[in-house]
């Protein structure tokens, strides 16, 4: 129950949380806040672990004539060596490098600390004198299985998908197709064989799973290191391009407001409207008066960016304008 140690950790958690909030409010530094917050979380996990496992600090008061304590003592009461303090220490180390590495280390450290807290709690509970396999199974059924099974399945699927896809992304496209079919057939056959032979020992299964894990992990890591093949988009054709910006009801273009393209060619005008809230567009006519024939009218936008694609007319001098503001104009030359 609440021992002196657990109270200390709870207090530390509360103090770290208050510091995190106060630090953020006074300095506005998000990184520092995260570190204090991580500390609070870690302290909370430890506090919970200690609370769940440690006995009371003081022996309960027992009257002189009370019957002797008959609590059963399990034969495996002796506590075994525990890896969890080491794991927790590792998480502390990872959290410590957060200042250098940043958010990824923080997340990794918190995850490791969480796992350590869970593992330590679990181990302590198994060694507790009230532990029986029966209530262990009950807890397992109610709490662990509904979470652990789907999460585990998800992780396995993600591991396979990420590992295999690294390989498929590296090798040539047709080889990838063949590999995928072969691997798929192999997996199906393997599981068929396993299903057809129910008497496989668990050692054999574990060994097989470990081998498969190693193969996928090694292949995934090495092909990921080798990088993806270059995926060529065959439809992408290099087109001449011109940036046009509308700002303060004026066109901003390089070189004296003249835009030049070659004749009868697919071109792109990359149009950005920086007058947020005011509609502009970019249009080309043979002349600006009402006798001018339209060549292209770009889609009006009142903020952001639009890419206009059109085919240039024959050689000549045209005018480009904004359909909303006659004062926004320039020369459009087709060579």
């Amino acid at each position: 129950m609440f021992s002196l140690a657990s109270k200390l950790y709870f207090a530390l958690a509360g103090f770290a949380l208050a510091t995190a909030l106060g630090y953020r409010a006074t300095t506005g530094d998000r990184q520092g806040e995260l570190i204090f917050f991580g500390l609070a979380l870690g302290a909370l996990v430890i506090a919970l672990a200690v609370t769940a496992t440690a006995g009371q600090d003081l022996e309960p008061y027992v009257t002189a004539d009370a019957p002797p304590d008959r609590r059963p003592v399990s034969p495996t009461a002796a506590a075994g060596a525990s890896p969890w303090p080491l794991v927790l220490a590792a998480s502390a180390a990872v959290l410590a490098v957060t200042t250098v590495v940043g958010a990824p280390a923080l997340i990794a450290g918190l995850i490791i600390a969480f796992i350590a807290g869970l593992g330590w709690t679990g181990q302590a509970w198994r060694e507790h004198h009230s532990f029986t396999p029966r209530n262990s199974a009950a807890v397992g059924n109610r709490l662990v299985a509904p979470v652990a099974l789907p999460v585990g399945a998800f992780l396995v699927a993600a591991f396979i998908a990420i590992g295999v896809s690294r390989v498929l992304l590296h090798i040539p496209e047709q080889a990838a197709t063949v590999t995928f079919i072969v691997v798929g057939a192999l997996v199906l056959t393997t599981f068929f064989v396993i299903a057809a032979r129910p008497r496989l020992t668990s050692a054999a299964l574990t060994g097989f799973a470990a081998a498969a894990f190693v193969v996928v992990a090694v292949a995934g890591v090495s092909f990921a290191a080798a990088g993806e093949r270059k995926i060529v988009n065959e439809h992408k054709v290099e087109t001449p391009e011109q940036d046009v910006v509308a700002l303060n009801t004026a066109f901003v273009v390089p070189s004296d407001a003249v835009i030049t393209f070659a004749a009868d060619e697919q071109v792109e005008v990359d149009f950005t409207n920086k007058d947020t809230g005011t509609f502009h567009n970019w249009a080309v006519y043979t002349s600006q008066d009402t006798k001018g024939k339209p060549i292209f009218n770009g889609r009006p936008i009142d903020h952001g960016r639009a890419v206009y694609r059109f085919t240039t007319p024959g050689p000549g001098t045209y005018v480009y304008v904004c359909d909303f503001h006659s004062s926004m104009k320039g020369e459009f030359v087709i060579r």
């Binding site: 509609f279 339209p294 009218n297 009142d302 359909d323």
Partner: protein, 346 residues
């Protein structure tokens, strides 16, 4: 004496009122232009009706039979006392076979007729007599192109009565559904792919239609009308549409034409030979159309004035996201001139 009805009574009363209301809907003998279940106006719609009606009758028969049996069983075999237990039976091979085989045969029959109709609807008519139309769905209006005649128009689909019209449809934004109920069924209009539909009207007339796939804010205001003309009227219409309207040179209309190019209209709308905007409806022959803005407003000066004052107030749109016409903050004088110009686009 009881002053307020018990919940059970209230429920019974409510059910009775609902049933009466439902019954009353049957009395609506007014013309229902979007009613699919009666009066098809063309061979394709008739073919669909000849599939729907028998299937509906079969379904109705079995609905009544099954529901009747359920109600009968619920009443006849209800539990009458607490310690009563029904006779325990294991099953009946005969009964189970019957209620498996009969529906299977029925479904097979319905399936064969449905498939036959699907193949029929999938046929693409060809030949010089067939009018080709490209339907393009936009949020929230319909664009109709006639590649044979190089006509582009909006919301009003003119077709010659008694002739097959082969429609190819696609969308520029989201999924719409083209639905002229008296002439054909619904076909989804999907960006990036081309779907087909054939329509044909028996006789000249006006046929309502509208978008039948929820497509956002003004989905309900995305209507259309199919106008079946006699061949002579259709030919006249084609001739009118292929003659460009002359650019007005005097008066309000000329001033309006200048405004059309300086107030932004030309950025979105095409008037052949004058502007090439690709966002909104083609206005080259705007004044030949009876309604505008997704076929919801009568095309007259009064409605145009209201529209030009503030389009999003007239029809829900989101111009800041590129959907629909923005408020261009035009003065009354500018609106008068623009209307004069629009009126000249015959």
């Amino acid at each position: 004496m009881r002053l307020s009805p018990t919940p059970a009574r209230r429920a019974r009363l409510g059910a009775a009122v609902l049933a009466l209301l439902l019954l009353a809907t049957g009395c609506a003998r007014e013309t229902m232009p979007q009613d699919v279940l009666s009066h098809p106006q063309g061979p394709i719609a008739r073919r669909l009706e000849h599939l729907i009606n028998p299937v509906f009758l079969i379904a109705a028969f079995f609905f009544v039979l099954v529901q009747g049996l359920v109600i009968y069983a619920a009443i006849r075999f209800r539990r009458r006392s607490d310690d009563e237990a029904p006779v325990q039976v294991h099953g009946s091979a005969k009964l189970e076979l019957t209620w498996t085989v009969v529906p299977a045969v029925l479904l097979l029959g319905v399936g064969i007729f449905t498939l036959a109709n699907l193949f029929f609807l999938d046929q693409q008519p060809k030949g010089p007599d067939v009018v080709q139309v490209d339907v393009i769905g936009h949020q929230w209006w319909w664009e109709f192109k006639y590649p044979q005649y190089k006509i582009t128009t909006a919301n009003e689909l003119h077709i010659p009565a008694g002739k097959k019209v082969a429609i190819k449809m696609t969308s520029t934004d989201v999924i719409h559904s083209f639905w002229p109920p008296k002439l054909a069924g619904k076909v989804d209009v999907i960006p990036g792919r081309t779907n087909h539909m054939v329509i044909e009207a028996d006789a000249p007339g006006n046929f309502f239609g509208q978008c039948a796939e929820f497509c956002g804010l003004s989905h309900a205001n995305m209507r259309l009308r199919v106008i079946a003309d006699s061949q002579a009227d259709f030919d006249t219409w084609v001739a009118d549409q292929t003659t460009a309207a002359a650019l007005p040179v005097t008066g309000d209309a000329a001033a309006g034409a200048a405004l059309f190019r300086s107030k932004g209209c030309s950025g979105c709308h095409t008037v052949d030979g004058y502007s090439a905007g690709l966002v909104g409806p083609n206005l080259t022959h705007f004044n030949s159309r009876a309604r505008f803005a997704g076929y919801i407003f009568d095309n007259n000066d009064e409605m145009l004035r209201k529209w030009l004052r503030n389009p999003p107030a007239m029809k829900p749109m989101n111009p800041n996201k590129g959907l629909g016409m923005p408020n261009l903050h035009l003065s009354e004088d500018e609106i008068t001139k623009l209307i004069a110009y629009l009126d000249s686009l015959k």
